[in-house]
Every structure is written in structure tokens, then in C-alpha cells.
């Protein structure tokens, strides 16, 4: 790894944000994939692992009398404030990290070198585990109204759409291609969710290229076809999730929104969700509030208000609730779009799916939903998450907001989700980790070209394997059949401390109801579970699993490209004795989560 200038720096201080006295001295290691901070005092060894891909920014702060400070901010909302004794070391680490945390090429992403010790067959099965076509079947497709179409199999109609699309039955190819041409980036109206009971559908697309006066017969036919695919309602809602002003501005650029006069029986609505730039800035402000050392209650609440974050979360939720109501109460189909139809549209469609269909509130159902409404239909994960060193203006916490909306729902309805908060946080961490291939690339076509299914592994089987950690013990299947009708009064929108202050353990409840209930139900359900298995579980959940960490270290050392072996004079601290015993394939540290537990627990 030519980018690592200094693989090891000793006597680095890790500053504690809340208690200066608790700051510690330790050793910093840079590996090909992680930054590792090891603190060894007497018999306790504490390790903090930070995946390079999780780093959002590295900043050298002005020199102080105590040393040379380096501030590392992570996409997982972790903050590391390091203090180096020598300016030289600080500069070297800074330089190395700059290059490591934002790779230039996709092949440098962790997923391309990570192997969870599966064979090719496992890998193939892993990728097939979640299948969007199956979800269409689950909804009852193909039926009298909707069918699965392969018109886009070569990504020619729309390069950012998946190869299979849900379209109204019997809609002509001319209508489809014509409509695609009239929509921004060819993202024509396609089926997102079909509600069996009401026959109403949620469809999604991008904005029409209507400009000030343009119209398109095929697009009008397309909407007509969507309307006709619902026998229960004579009109469809067309929901533009943008603020009206933004949509108007787009008209001047030849884009815009549907003119009600040109389309028969549509009811047009704006929803007022702000764009990716507003959201990015809002999160920035929120994080500033989170990281204030000891704010007064007033400062905190004012800061929270000024960040606008919860206002944005509510706007997404409002739109989702509007869709769900239209479908289940008015039995009306809805067509949703924003500008390109891959950010706000994805948020709103997936949220309304959760409100409408209990399946998506299960552990597997959420995977399916994310696969369907985000990954396959072209939410630009690579750009939005800033996996590579690309345009920072493309980065935006759109997916994070979706996860937060789900969390807000789970706070209002503690018994309707099969999963708990940790599942959402784990998915969030994995999205940024690039350890698995799922969230790499911006659309299906790109992923195919990268041959991700051959070169990387899928996250979903890994999550499923650990699903006992993510279970919500309060989940009641009996409540399954209900449509969720959340209150959207502002007071129900709470700050998500578990996410944005995840690494500030001191702020969280000191005892966990979740752990308690999980351990009670665990014993109940799986009384036959062996002792060793239980210990493994505990290792991931809270108790440090040193063996695993050390094994990982040794494993990395055996690889010829590894900094410990590649760089001169680097000592493989405290792990030498383990060299021989690591013949059996090491269990890699599986989650960013568990690494952090290492830090928390000593």
C-alpha cells in the first residue's frame, strides 16, 4: 500500500471531548483498510477501529502547546480528536488518510478485497437472496392491471433504471419510449408498489420536460394507462415532492411539472421537500449542535431548530403519509416524482410502502424495500455517500433521512417493526463502509459493468445471519395487518441520539431495555442454543472479542501488500505470538459496530 507513509505512530493522544482528564495515550496504526488506535494500560487493551471509508473529513488543526492536533470526522458521526507529539507524524498520517479515505477508483474500495470466507456458490446465492421480481410477484404481478416488462433489459430506454420494470398492462412500446423521452433522464413512470386490497398503485418517475408549454401525447397516455389500471378510482394523484418554487424554476430550464389541463383526471400536488443541498447543509448544522461540548438546554433546542433537520424529516414523513392515505383511504393511485426521481421520490415511495405493507416492516422486508426502491431503481449511492473522491456537492444524507423516518415511526409504534434501532444503524454503517458490494455504484447498469456480483459479496445474507441482534422483542405479528397512521404533529419528531450521537455513550440510557428483553426472549426461543454460540453473540453485542481483533491483525500481516509487512521497520505490536495460530481462516471483524464496542467497553 503505497499510500501509507507511516504505518505506526506511538504516543498519540486521543482527546476525550467531555472530560479532558480521561484523554489517553496510545498507538496509532494505519492499515490498508482501517485506522486503528490502540491504548494499552497495564492489563487492559482498548482498540478503536475506524474504516477508512467511514471517514468524512480529516482536518489538521492549528498547533498547540500540547502537540499537533488532527480531527477526523466520520460518516458514522464518530469524531476522533488526536494529538500527535511530532508535527511530522501528524502530517504523514494526514497525507496518508487523505489518500486512503477517498479512493479515486472503484477497485480500491474495501468490498473488492473483502472476503467473508464464502465460496463462489455462497456468493451467488447471496446475491440472489433478495430479488425484486419476487417482490412484484408477492404484490400479485402480473395481474389484470400490471405486468413485469423487460423492455429495459439493455438499459436502452432508461440507463439508470433496472432491467425489469412494472408497467400498466398492455401499454404500448411507443407509449413507453415516448414517455421516457419526455421525462428527465428517461426515467418514465413505473410501478413502485401495488396495493392488492384497493388496486391502487404507487408509481414513480422523474420530472416531465414540459418547460413552459411542451406536452407529450405518449406521456399523457402513460398516465392515462396508470389511471385505468385502477378500477376503484377515476383519478390519479400526481405528487411533485419538491417545493413549488423549485419546480417552477425548473420550467425555465425546459423541465418542470405536469400541467393539469393536459392530462385527464390527474390531481396535482406539491409536497415541499427540499433538495439535496439543503439537506446536506442541514445535517452539517445538526452535527454542529451534536458536537457542542456542554450546551445549555436552550442552546441545544435552538440549535436543533435552526438546523432545520427535523423539519425536513417531517416533510418527508408528511409526503409518505399523504401517499399512504391516498392509496388506502381514497383508493387512488399516485405518481410521484421530484427532479430526477432518485432522491426524494425514493424516500417518499419507500416510506409509504412501510406505512402500507407490514411486510416491509420485517427484517427481510426492509432489505427488499431498500433493494427495490433505492438500489435497483438508481439511487446514486456512490455519489450521495461520497464513496470516491468525486464532487462533494453530490453528497447528501438522503438515505440517512429515510432510515431516520423509519426510526421515528418505530418510536411511535414500538410493536410493529420486526427489527430494532440497531438494524437501521447497522445498515447505515454498511452503506458507507463499502465492505459489501450492495451500495457501490449509482445504478444497476453501472454495477453490472463493475461486475460487482462476481467481485464482491452481498450484505443481506450477512445481516440475516446476525438477525438475532436486530430483532425487536416487542414485535407483534398480530398488529401486522394494519396500515400505519402516524401522527405528524411536530412534537412526535425527536432527535435521534442513538444515531447522531452514537459514539457518545455517556448520553445514552445506561441500561438497555432492548438488551434485557432480547436476552429474556433469546433464552425462551432458543433454549437449545449452545453456550459457545451465546458467547459469540455477547461478543458482538457488548463484550470485547479480542481474539477476533487480534486474529484480524495477524491475518492482515500475512498478506504481502499489508503495511505491517510492506513498510520497513514496522513492528506488529503485541500480535506476533499469534502468527502461527492463525492458520484457520480468521473471522474478520464483521461490523463497524463491534469494533466500536471494543472502544466502549474497557
Amino acid at each position: 500500500m503505497e499510500h501509507i507513509i507511516t504505518p505506526k505512530v506511538e504516543y498519540v493522544k486521543l482527546l476525550n471531548r467531555y472530560a479532558e482528564k480521561k484523554s489517553v495515550l496510545g498507538t496509532l496504526y494505519l492499515t490498508a483498510t482501517h485506522l486503528i488506535y490502540v491504548e494499552q494500560t497495564n492489563n487492559t487493551r482498548k482498540e478503536t477501529w475506524v474504516l477508512h471509508h467511514h471517514i468524512m473529513s480529516v482536518e489538521k488543526l492549528p498547533l498547540t502547546a500540547h502537540g499537533c492536533p488532527l480531527l477526523i470526522c466520520c460518516k458514522t458521526f464518530q469524531l476522533l480528536h488526536l494529538l500527535f507529539q511530532r508535527e511530522r507524524d501528524c502530517q504523514d498520517v494526514y497525507q496518508s488518510l487523505l489518500r486512503l479515505f477517498q479512493p479515486v477508483k472503484e477497485e480500491e474500495l474495501y468490498a473488492f478485497l473483502y472476503n467473508p470466507h464464502q465460496n463462489e456458490e455462497d456468493r451467488r446465492q447471496g446475491w440472489e437472496f433478495i430479488n425484486v421480481a419476487n417482490d412484484f410477484s408477492r404484490m400479485g404481478l402480473s395481474n389484470d392491471y400490471w405486468e413485469i416488462s423487460h423492455l429495459n433489459k439493455d438499459y436502452e430506454i432508461c440507463s439508470t433504471y433496472p432491467s425489469i420494470l412494472g408497467l400498466p398492462k398492455n401499454v404500448s412500446v411507443a407509449t413507453v419510449t415516448g414517455s421516457a423521452k419526455f421525462r428527465s433522464r428517461g426515467r418514465l413512470p413505473v410501478l413502485s408498489y401495488f396495493h392488492k386490497d384497493t388496486k391502487a398503485a404507487i408509481c414513480r418517475c422523474s420530472q416531465p420536460l414540459s418547460g413552459l408549454t411542451s406536452r407529450c401525447v405518449e406521456d399523457e397516455q402513460m398516465l392515462q394507462a396508470i389511471s385505468q389500471a385502477n378500477p376503484n378510482c377515476p383519478f390519479i394523484y400526481v405528487v411533485d415532492t419538491r417545493p413549488k418554487l423549485n419546480a417552477m424554476a425548473n420550467r425555465a430550464a425546459g423541465k418542470g411539472y405536469e400541467n393539469e389541463d393536459n392530462y385527464s383526471n390527474i390531481r396535482f400536488q406539491f409536497q415541499g421537500i427540499e433538495n439535496i443541498h439543503v439537506m446536506r447543509n442541514s445535517l452539517q448544522k445538526l452535527l454542529e449542535v451534536c458536537s457542542v461540548k456542554s450546551p445549555s438546554m436552550s442552546d441545544y433546542l435552538t440549535g436543533l431548530e435552526n438546523s432545520g433537520w427535523l423539519r425536513h424529516i417531517k416533510s418527508v414523513m408528511d409526503a409518505g403519509v399523504f401517499l399512504a392515505k391516498a392509496v388506502c383511504e381514497e383508493r387512488a393511485s399516485v405518481l410521484v416524482h421530484c427532479s430526477d426521481g432518485w432522491d426524494r421520490t425514493a424516500q417518499v415511495c419507500s416510506l409509504s410502502c412501510i406505512l402500507l405493507d407490514p411486510y416491509y416492516r420485517t427484517i427481510k422486508g426492509l432489505m427488499v424495500l431498500i433493494e427495490k426502491e433505492w438500489i435497483s431503481i438508481g439511487h446514486k449511492f456512490s455519489h450521495r455517500c461520497g464513496h470516491l473522491d468525486t464532487d462533494p456537492k453530490e453528497v447528501s444524507p438522503v438515505f440517512t433521512q429515510f432510515l431516520e423516518c423509519v426510526w421515528q415511526l418505530s418510536e411511535q409504534f414500538p410493536c410493529v417493526f420486526e427489527f430494532n434501532e440497531r438494524y437501521l444503524i447497522e445498515i447505515h454503517n454498511q452503506v458507507y463502509a463499502c465492505q459489501y458490494g450492495n451500495f457501490i455504484g449509482n445504478c444497476q447498469k453501472e454495477r453490472l459493468e463493475m461486475r460487482l456480483h462476481e467481485k464482491t459479496f452481498s450484505l443481506w445474507p450477512h445481516l440475516l445471519k446476525n438477525q438475532h441482534l436486530y430483532r425487536n422483542p416487542l414485535y407483534r405479528r398480530s398488529l401486522e395487518c394494519t396500515v400505519l397512521r402516524p401522527s405528524t404533529l411536530p412534537l412526535h419528531f425527536k432527535f435521534w441520539c442513538g444515531m447522531y450521537n452514537y459514539y457518545d455513550g455517556g448520553m445514552h440510557p445506561k441500561q438497555s431495555v432492548l438488551d434485557q428483553l432480547l436476552s429474556l426472549t433469546q433464552k425462551q426461543v432458543e433454549g437449545e442454543r449452545t453456550m459457545t454460540e451465546l458467547q459469540r453473540v455477547r461478543g458482538v453485542m457488548g463484550v470485547v472479542d479480542f481474539v477476533r481483533v487480534e486474529r484480524y491483525l495477524t491475518d492482515m500481516m500475512l498478506s504481502p501488500s499489508h503495511p505491517f509487512t510492506a513498510a520497513e521497520g514496522a513492528e506488529p505490536a503485541a500480535t506476533e505470538h499469534d502468527l502461527t495460530s492463525s492458520k484457520d481462516k480468521p473471522v474478520s471483524v464483521e461490523t463497524e459496530h463491534s469494533k466500536e464496542e471494543v472502544q466502549e467497553s474497557s
Binding site: L301, D318, Q412, P473, S487, L489, L491, D504, Q511, L520
Partner: protein
């Protein structure tokens, strides 16, 4: 005037009742001396709503054609609407409610008439006393004694008849110290830490006045408290500036030169009207129908309620730090020593003392530190968040305590034996109750009114095994450690259980609670019958031995 003379119309038919999140009901409305009764007998299964008139904080009348609408806003934050056919009936009902919901005389209040068949007036009243606390706390026996100098309430009208004092300070000195403290509230023992014998004392402010008067006996008393150890802490619940200003009106603070072994720390706490208005603003914000998040957050901030929660928990944390971590005794006081003083000292005990985290222990704590210690409940809880009446001495300090306890419970969900339901029940009872527990402003007043002889005790009734289960925390696992809550703003939350009590949200939370119970019960069934009984029986047993020890007290 007889209470019944306030009732001009006792019954109205065809009244429509509207409650939040329930369909409207039609039925009969009935006003009695103490209750408003609505019954709907349309279906076979009749449904009734019984509201204590004292629970009604405010009513609003509105005429709609020939009929009238009364909006009833209760002290437990419930809001109801009654549509009454006939304007005259409506006005009569409204004036009855107005007159009967604000009775001044204690003995006219409902607890003096409440006679359920399952309770008898002959049983013991209350759970604890100063003497019992002393008897239980072995660490006190050596250096402390029970003084009955206040047995006729002449030394301090708001203190109980017995207080715990250092052995080496005789009653004469105490009387002098009492004269030097506002309202005669001289420093008394509130808690003795089981781990190191350090104590929490509480009092009112010293009356040093503008001339910096001193009182040798008061100084000796405090010297005796720390008994030769180097240092004690005085936590003054006012800012240094306020404490200075208090001298102008005859109050003051313990100056360093006269109390050389005591270190004074000032922590500003809002009191009285400010806190009352804070509650009013918060409740108003919670019922704001606007959909603007900014508006909500700004109103929440503006209400300052969470800031008060924050201050109370921080200062309690400070007291705990002094006692537990640094091993020093503490004296807590503000001005009168009847409000924030009790808030801080009881929160500190909850954090420090595992015994105060059981149902019985917590109720005993409330009894000792609030009821017997002379928190003026009648004045403070005369009105709640909706009243338009001019505020006099109202202040929801007790509600603030319950909120703080809830915050502790949220952060340590396994450490308290009781559940949120108990806190909610107390929040309701303190404003309007069938029981005599929260009547009057002091022991002296309760004695004069014959509260113990003529009313039932809430705490005893809460501990009856059939009632108590609903107030237990199914996840309770006792711990001996201090439970320090985090006071980061991110760690403190709006107490939705109380402030959103009458919304759909509360129903979802109830489902979750039931689910927790069923998981725990199922688990216990699997683990064998031994464990199930364990938690249920312990605190019932603890009551009896205390009673028997009463007689031996004189010997000590």
C-alpha cells in the same frame, strides 16, 4: 353554605361528550358536590365517566343557538367538551363546577367523604415517620438523635413533630438556630448515606440580613454535622447575586468567615411563578395544532421546562458527587426550603440510595421529604396548566420532581422497582384525589384538620397487592450503585407519558408496556415459579417490622 346549594341543575339529559380520539357520546350529565358524572346508557353496557370536580382546572362556556358548550380542562391535562341542550342548564352546570371545583376549606374536600367499602379508617396512616427512618438507619445511632422539640409545631410550623439532629446539639440551641432561619426551618437531617455515613441536610436560608447577623448556635449545629471532618458543602439553590440580594429583605447566606468548614456553591434554580408559567407554556405548546417543527421547538425551548429538569438533575448530581464521590456532607437550601430544596434532596437520594428505588422506598421518600417536610401542596397545586385564575402560590415543583424521576427511569430502566404508571398516578393524585395524603400545607395543618383520622392514605392504598402490580417495573433488577443520570440535553426528553397522556400515542405505548409484561411473565414461567413471587412480595413484608419498633424509640 351547604355544598349542595351550589347545584341548581343536578341532571341534564341528552348531553354530548367529546373526548380526544374517541367518538362523541350522548348521555346524562349529573353534578354532585364533588363529582361530575357522565353516563351513557344507550348500549346494554353502560359507560360512565366520573371526574372529581377538584380535578377541573378551567372551564369555558360557549353558546351555540339555544344550547351551550362547556369545555372542561382538567388538572391532569385531559380536555373534554360537553354540549348541553338548554342555555340555562348549561350556565347552571358551569357555575356549579366553578364554585365546587375551587373549595377553600380542607374538610369540605372529597377525601373527607370518600368511604370505599374495602378500606377502613382505623388502620395505620402513612408509611413512615422520622422515628422509623432513624430506627432503620443504623449509621445514625451513634452521633444522631431524634428530637421532638417541635412536637407542638411551635419551633417550626412547617416541620414535622420529630426531626433528626446531631446528638451533641441540645434542643435549646436548635431553637436559636430555628429563629435564625426563615420560617424556623433550621438544618435537619434528610439522608444518611449508607456507604460512608455522610449526610444530606436541608434548611431554609439564614436570616443574616443587611447587617450580616450571625447565630452561634446555627454555626455550632453545622459544625456538629460535619463532626470534625474537614469540609462540608452548602449547595445554595440561588445564584450568588440572588443570595446577596436576599440580604436586603432579611435573608442571606452562610458567610465563609463564620462557617469556615463549609464551602458554598451557588446553583441558580427558578422558582414559584416562573416554573408555573413554564408548565403553562409547555402544555400550551403540546396542544398547538400547528404543523411547524420550528414553531414547536421554539415553543418547547421558550417554555424552559426542560431547562428546569436539566437544572434539577444537575444539582442533584452535584450533591451526589459531594456525598458519594468526595465523601462530604451537604446542606441544601434555597430561600424558604420548601420547594427546590426538597426537589434536589429527594432526587439526590433517589440517585444514591437503592432503598428509595423500590415502590415502598420511593413512597416513603415522598412522604418524608415532601409531605412531612412541609411542601405546601395545597398552595402549590391549587391550579395546574389551564387555569385563568390569577396565580398566587401555585408552582408545579412536585410535577417537576416526577418528571426528573421519569428521566432517571428512562436512563436506568432496570434500576427502579416502580413504573411510569406510578409517576403518572401521583401526578394526577397530587392535584385531585380521593385520598387525604396531599391535603394541606404541613403536618400541623393536617393535624388540625384531622386528616389522618378522617381520610384514607393514598400510599397505603397504592401498596395493596392487587393495586400494586400495575405500578411495578417488570424489568426491575436492584443495584447497589448510585445511578447517575446524564444531563446532556440530548439525554433529556419531553415526558411524553405525561404531556401526551391523552393522545393516541399513549395507546401505542401502553401496547408496548403490555408486551414487555408478557415477555417477562412468560420468561418467569419458564424460569420456574420461585422468581415470579420474589419481586411481588418483598416490599409488602417490610412494612410490619417498622411498626413494632415504634415503642422502643424512647430508649434511644
Amino acid at each position: 353554605m351547604e355544598l349542595s346549594e351550589h347545584i341548581k341543575t343536578a341532571n341534564v339529559e341528552d348531553v354530548t361528550l367529546r373526548r380526544p380520539f374517541h367518538p362523541a357520546l350522548r348521555g346524562t350529565l349529573c353534578v354532585t358536590s364533588h363529582h361530575l358524572l357522565f353516563s351513557d346508557r344507550k348500549d346494554e353496557a353502560s359507560w360512565q365517566l366520573l371526574i372529581l370536580l377538584k380535578n377541573i382546572d378551567a372551564i369555558e362556556k360557549r353558546a351555540v343557538g339555544s344550547s351551550g358548550t362547556i369545555t372542561i380542562k382538567c388538572k391532569d391535562l385531559l380536555v373534554l367538551q360537553l354540549e348541553i341542550p338548554g342555555m340555562e342548564e348549561c350556565l347552571n352546570i358551569a357555575s356549579s363546577i366553578e364554585a365546587l371545583s375551587s373549595l377553600e376549606s380542607v374538610t369540605e374536600m372529597y377525601p373527607f367523604f370518600y368511604r370505599p367499602s374495602h378500606l377502613t379508617l382505623n388502620g395505620p396512616w402513612g408509611l413512615s415517620s422520622t422515628e422509623q427512618y432513624y430506627k432503620q438507619t443504623e449509621r445514625l445511632w451513634d452521633r444522631w438523635r431524634v428530637s421532638t422539640l417541635n412536637s407542638d409545631y411551635s419551633v417550626c410550623p412547617s416541620y414535622p413533630s420529630a426531626v433528626i439532629m446531631p446528638r451533641e446539639v441540645d434542643d435549646d440551641k436548635l431553637i436559636r438556630s430555628a429563629r435564625f432561619r426563615q420560617g424556623g426551618r433550621f438544618p435537619v437531617l434528610s439522608y444518611c448515606h449508607h456507604r460512608n455515613g455522610m449526610v444530606i441536610m436541608r434548611s431554609s436560608q439564614p436570616l443574616t440580613g443587611a447587617n450580616k447577623k450571625r447565630c452561634k448556635e446555627d454555626e455550632l449545629l453545622l459544625q456538629a454535622v460535619i463532626d470534625g471532618s474537614e469540609l462540608g458543602y452548602i449547595i445554595d439553590l440561588r445564584s450568588a447575586q440572588q443570595a446577596q440580594q436576599a440580604r436586603m429583605t432579611g435573608g442571606g447566606f452562610e458567610s465563609k468567615s463564620f462557617y469556615s468548614h463549609w464551602k458554598r456553591i451557588h446553583r441558580h434554580h427558578e422558582r414559584g411563578k416562573v416554573v408555573q408559567e413554564s408548565l403553562i407554556k409547555l402544555v400550551e405548546a403540546c396542544s398547538d395544532p400547528s404543523h411547524s417543527v420550528d414553531r414547536w421547538l421554539s415553543k418547547l425551548e421558550n417554555s424552559k421546562w426542560l431547562s428546569h429538569v436539566h437544572s434539577a438533575l444537575s444539582t442533584a448530581g452535584l450533591v451526589v458527587e459531594c456525598v458519594e464521590r468526595d465523601g462530604h456532607s451537604v446542606l441544601v437550601h434555597g430561600s424558604e426550603g420548601t420547594d427546590n430544596t426538597l426537589l434536589v434532596s429527594s432526587l439526590a437520594q433517589l440517585i444514591l440510595d437503592p432503598a428509595s428505588r423500590t415502590v415502598t422506598g420511593f413512597l416513603c421518600l415522598l412522604e418524608r421529604e415532601w409531605i412531612q417536610a412541609g411542601h405546601p401542596f395545597q398552595q402549590r397545586c391549587a391550579h395546574s396548566a389551564y387555569s385563568h385564575a390569577r396565580l398566587k402560590q401555585e408552582c408545579p415543583i412536585f410535577l417537576l420532581l416526577l418528571d426528573c424521576v421519569w428521566q432517571v427511569w428512562r436512563q436506568f430502566p432496570l434500576a427502579l422497582e416502580f413504573s411510569e404508571a406510578l409517576l403518572l398516578r401521583l401526578a394526577q393524585e397530587v392535584y385531585a384525589s380521593n385520598y387525604g395524603t396531599f391535603l394541606c400545607n404541613s403536618e400541623q395543618e393536617r393535624c388540625a384538620a384531622g386528616v389522618k383520622e378522617n381520610t384514607h392514605c393514598l400510599f397505603q392504598s397504592l401498596l395493596r397487592p392487587d393495586i400494586e402490580e400495575q405500578y411495578l417495573n417488570p424489568l426491575y433488577e436492584p443495584t447497589d450503585l448510585a445511578i447517575w443520570p446524564s444531563v446532556h440535553p440530548q439525554s433529556l426528553q419531553l415526558w411524553t407519558g405525561l404531556f401526551l397522556r391523552w393522545t393516541e400515542y399513549a395507546q401505542n405505548m401502553e401496547e408496548a408496556r403490555e408486551e414487555v409484561w408478557s415477555i417477562v411473565k412468560e420468561h418467569h414461567e419458564q424460569a420456574g415459579p420461585d422468581r415470579t413471587n420474589n419481586t411481588l412480595s418483598t416490599h409488602c413484608d417490610t412494612l410490619t417490622p417498622f411498626e413494632n419498633l415504634m415503642d422502643e424509640l424512647t430508649i434511644l
